[in-house]
């Protein structure tokens, strides 16, 4: 047999198996100083799981407070700090890093037929920088009592009676970690692809990571600059955003959203990559149109930079600017629509396997449809005048950004769990967890669309009694969501310790990452693979076996 051909199954010589990356070395040092992309991915997995739980606890406390129109369990100032904590934690500590740092790190070299990322030491450094950033952000927020919301709007953030600078410094540090990871991934995709792996043979997940890395390195510096300017304003009174000194508070919003709108795609593009990757495997057929998914990824990555002004339709922006940003918003939405059509089409004439991963992927598509269409409705400018800064917007961005990122993260975690840990999880409990999570999410945020229609402003500690029953419904949904996530957590932890040994390729998938052992040995491939087919081509074994003989 040609040793260089890419076999989808591990050769049956199981007894000679090399130790996996998990067992090859032991002890804390072997983890804390590792250069292995797979171990760094697990360090990230532990970190972002912690921040996800933390952000979730903040969310539950907020939902509890909102059960009644006035004081339920906390004062207004505590509430303001909690929604800041929830937003900052979920955006910068969970959603932005989650899928790229965990699954990008773990899978990129495997999918490229490489032994590691191009810059392994930078990879480890980015994790340390991330952890330092998290510590500075959280300690700064809790000790300083930051109450600005995650958007840090001036002049409130520069005149707030509470400390803002530590949080800004923390997010600034995390930004460096993001840039390092982005640079690393771009270099990796360009330089360490296996022989025969030309661009149009790249798995769709790799394209998603490539697109998101471009946004990360282009947009994150703008965030850094903006946060630094706010720090200078608070420290030295530079007056860049202060009208009394000739500055402009709206300038901050332009700078902030120039980063933060593309950041929405930093959060969802990796999730879109995950769904594009797992659907062909679970539908047992190639993607509906591979190139459409690839090109739309780049459409989102570039047009996404032009739509930031739709966050400021009522901020005093000129009508001409509003029209322009409205058009750009419709332009970027079309690329998401293309992806959705192609995902639905992926099931056509397939053999769809139903399990927790399929449930998460279909849930992702469903949320994208409704989140996307409510986004387009908000982009029509005229309707935004009513919905802007109400619960409608809160519901919309949870539907388009928070829910899909969470569901895609869980889809990826389940799909590649056997690859990462070599264990099998309970099919039944994982499906119960997925269904409960999806239903809880839907029940939490659907009432919030109606609250927005009624006119309830966001970030409100107290509200009028007529809004109460919808808040109660939303809080009930949040408890179901929390239950779903707990079921999922326990199912996976149980699988980790007591799960059966997983087969090498439990999903019968065609992706290159399944060509090495599960879990992989420290250097992934025993022999450097040569790619002779696309990532979704089937059947593989007979053809290649024929060629080999």
């Amino acid at each position: 047999m040609n040793p260089a051909s890419l076999a989808p199954e591990h050769p049956p010589s199981a007894p000679a198996r090399a130790p996996s990356y998990l067992t090859a070395e032991t002890g804390p040092k072997s983890w804390l100083f590792t250069h292995d992309h797979k171990r760094i991915a697990l360090l990230y997995l532990g970190t972002v799981s912690f921040t996800l739980i933390l952000g979730g606890v903040f969310a539950l406390l907020l939902r509890l407070e909102l059960l009644t129109p006035e004081n339920t369990i906390m004062q207004a100032q505590t509430y303001d700090r909690l929604f800041t904590l929830h937003g900052v934690t979920m955006v910068w500590l969970f959603m932005i890093p989650s899928i790229p740092t965990v699954f990008g790190n773990f899978l990129l070299p495997l999918m490229l037929g490489a032994h590691d990322v191009a810059l392994p030491r930078l990879n480890l450094l980015s994790w340390y920088v991330f952890v330092v950033g998290i510590a500075v952000t959280l300690i700064g927020m809790i000790a300083g009592g930051t109450d600005t919301g995650w958007t840090f709007y001036t002049p409130y953030s520069t005149t707030s009676p509470h400390e803002v600078i530590p949080v800004l410094a923390g997010v600034f540090i995390i930004g460096f970690s993001t840039i390092m990871t982005g640079v690393n991934f771009i270099v990796t995709i360009h330089t360490v692809r296996a022989q025969g792996l030309h661009w149009m043979r790249l798995p769709l997940f790799v394209w998603g990571i490539y697109g998101v890395s471009i946004i990360q390195i282009l947009a994150t510096p703008v965030l850094g600059i903006t946060l630094a300017l706010v720090c200078l304003e608070s420290f030295l009174g530079t007056g860049i955003f202060d009208p009394l000194k000739g500055g402009d508070p709206v300038l901050f919003q332009h700078l902030f959203w120039f980063y933060s709108h593309p950041a929405v795609y930093i959060m969802v593009l990796p999730g879109m990559g995950v769904v594009s990757e797992v659907l062909p495997a679970l539908c047992r057929r190639p993607p509906f149109n591979y190139k459409a998914i690839v090109y739309s990824t780049f459409g989102i990555a570039f047009v996404g930079f032009l739509a930031w002004g739709h966050h400021m339709f009522v901020a005093g922006q000129s009508t001409a600017a509003n029209v322009m940003f409205g058009v750009a918003t419709m332009g970027v939405a079309i690329f998401t629509a293309i992806k959705i059509f192609n995902w639905v089409g992926n099931m056509y004439q397939g053999q769809v396997v139903f399990n927790a991963v399929t449930a998460y992927a279909l849930g992702f598509i469903f949320l994208m449809i409704f989140g996307g269409l409510t986004g387009v409705a908000l982009g029509t400018v005229g309707l935004d005048a009513h919905w802007h800064d109400t619960y409608f917007v809160v519901a919309h961005f949870h539907f388009i950004m928070a829910g899909p990122t969470l569901l895609a993260f869980l889809a990826a975690l389940h799909f590649w769990f056997p690859k990462m840990f070599g264990k099998t999880f309970s099919a039944r409990w994982s499906l119960i967890g997925a269904a409960t999570t999806f239903f809880g999410f839907f029940a939490t945020f659907t009432p919030q669309f109606l609250l927005g229609n009624m006119g309830m402003p966001r970030r409100s500690y107290a509200y009028l009694p007529r809004f109460q029953w919808l808040h109660v419904a939303s809080t009930m949904g949040a408890s179901i969501l929390a239950a779903g996530l707990l079921i999922t957590l326990f199912t996976l932890i149980h699988a980790l310790f007591f799960g059966e040994r997983a087969p090498e390729n439990p999903w019968d998938a065609t992706g290159y990452e399944w060509a090495c052992a599960s879990p992989p040995p420290p250097h992934n491939f025993e022999v450097t693979p040569v790619i002779t087919r696309g990532p979704y081509e089937w059947p593989v074994i007979p053809e290649e076996a024929r060629r080999a003989t």
Partner: protein
């Protein structure tokens, strides 16, 4: 006539289905009609996609393990359709939305002007050569009203859900907002831009009156009350307490300090003068005139335990006689019995 009542019925039915408040401004119905159109087309598209997805899921669900699907689709024409269909819908919605938006942001030339000042956490309405009002904006029905808005501190947003429009209120700049009330009634004003601890209490009301009643109100309140007015007013006279009460209302003190003993963002003023207070650093003091004056000018210097340092400084905003009047007013709140005010706020329900 029949068509008119049908569309009326449709409008009311859809509005209630979507939990929208009543249509208080002339353009509100226009916004709602766009809302219905976008929602119905959106739901049709979303339902079609969901049903197609479910149908594919059921039809192509794997029944024989190990079986693989066939490769189909991929048509370029199909992808063009995938782009063209939604894009034409998106642009249609956008075109209609911009049309509505232009209407919302273009006040008629003959609009009555009111100056709006927002600050943490109150709304102030100034009529040219007329009344000054706190929190309540009186307007005549059937006449366009243009608001010229600015902020004294951070960014706020003037939002009346029943009118279906909002606009940010910025420091150092004037923004416009206009509406024409369609029917007499009370409409809630909210602040839609987060502005600190009192954000959710920064509420107000638009009271739309029939023109005759509005003119009567305007005439009765058309004197902006100043310290000089107070001095000339026999009801107020030289009473520092009454002047202090006016200053407290005008400066927004009562947005955070209650005068009836109830808990709020700041300590209550009832019985405050001469009270022993424990500070955040554990020291105790008697709330006397020097301490209260310091609290107005440098509020963060010494904070009563249990409260947050959120109060802005009034240095330069209060004249010395005003400080004296405020102190007299606080002193006068010593032995008042607990007063229960009816809750301020919305009085209407969506019908």
């Amino acid at each position: 006539m029949a068509a008119g009542s049908t569309s009326q019925f449709f409008n009311t039915y859809m509005r209630k289905l979507l939990f929208l408040p009543r249509q208080g401004a002339t353009y509100a119905a226009q916004v709602d009609h766009l809302h219905y159109f976008v929602l119905l087309t959106t739901l049709a598209v979303a339902a079609a996609l969901t049903v197609t997805g479910l149908a594919f899921f059921v039809r192509y669900k794997q029944r024989v393990p190990g079986k693989r699907g066939t490769r189909a689709g991929q048509g370029l024409l199909l992808e063009v359709l995938f782009i063209g269909t939604p894009l034409s819908f998106f642009l249609l919605w956008l075109g209609m939305g911009i049309d509505v938006y232009l209407h919302i942001v273009s006040p008629p030339a003959d609009a009555m002007q009111v100056y709006v000042t927002a600050k943490q956490w109150m709304w102030k309405f100034d009529y040219p050569d007329g009344p000054v009002a706190q929190g309540v904006l009186h307007v005549p029905v059937g006449r366009p009203v243009k608001l010229l808005m600015t902020s004294r501190d951070v960014i706020h947003s003037f939002y009346v859900p029943a009118f279906r429009a909002k606009r940010d209120v910025l420091p150092g700049r004037y923004t416009e907002y206009w509406f024409q009330a369609t029917a007499p009634g009370h409409y809630d004003i909210f602040c839609a831009e987060y502005c600190g601890a009192g954000h959710s209490y920064m509420r107000g009301q638009v009271i739309a009156l029939p023109p005759a009643q509005f003119h009567a109100w305007y005439a009765a309140h058309s004197r902006g009350r100043t310290a000089q007015d107070d001095a000339n007013d026999p009801a107020v006279g030289n009473s520092l307490v009454a002047q202090g009460e006016r200053v407290a209302a005008n400066q927004g003190c009562l947005k955070c300090h209650s005068v009836d003993g109830s808990a709020h963002i700041g300590p209550t003023w009832l019985g405050l003068f001469g009270r022993r207070e424990v500070m955040t650093d554990g020291t105790a003091l008697i709330a006397d005139a020097p301490y209260l004056t310091e609290s107005m000018m440098a509020p963060a210097a010494r904070i009563v335990r249990g409260y947050q340092p959120v109060m802005p400084s009034f240095q330069g905003r209060l004249a010395a006689p005003e400080v004296a009047a405020l102190l007299e007013y606080i002193k006068s709140l010593h032995d008042l019995p607990l007063q229960v005010h009816p809750p301020e706020g919305p009085t209407y329900e969506p019908r």
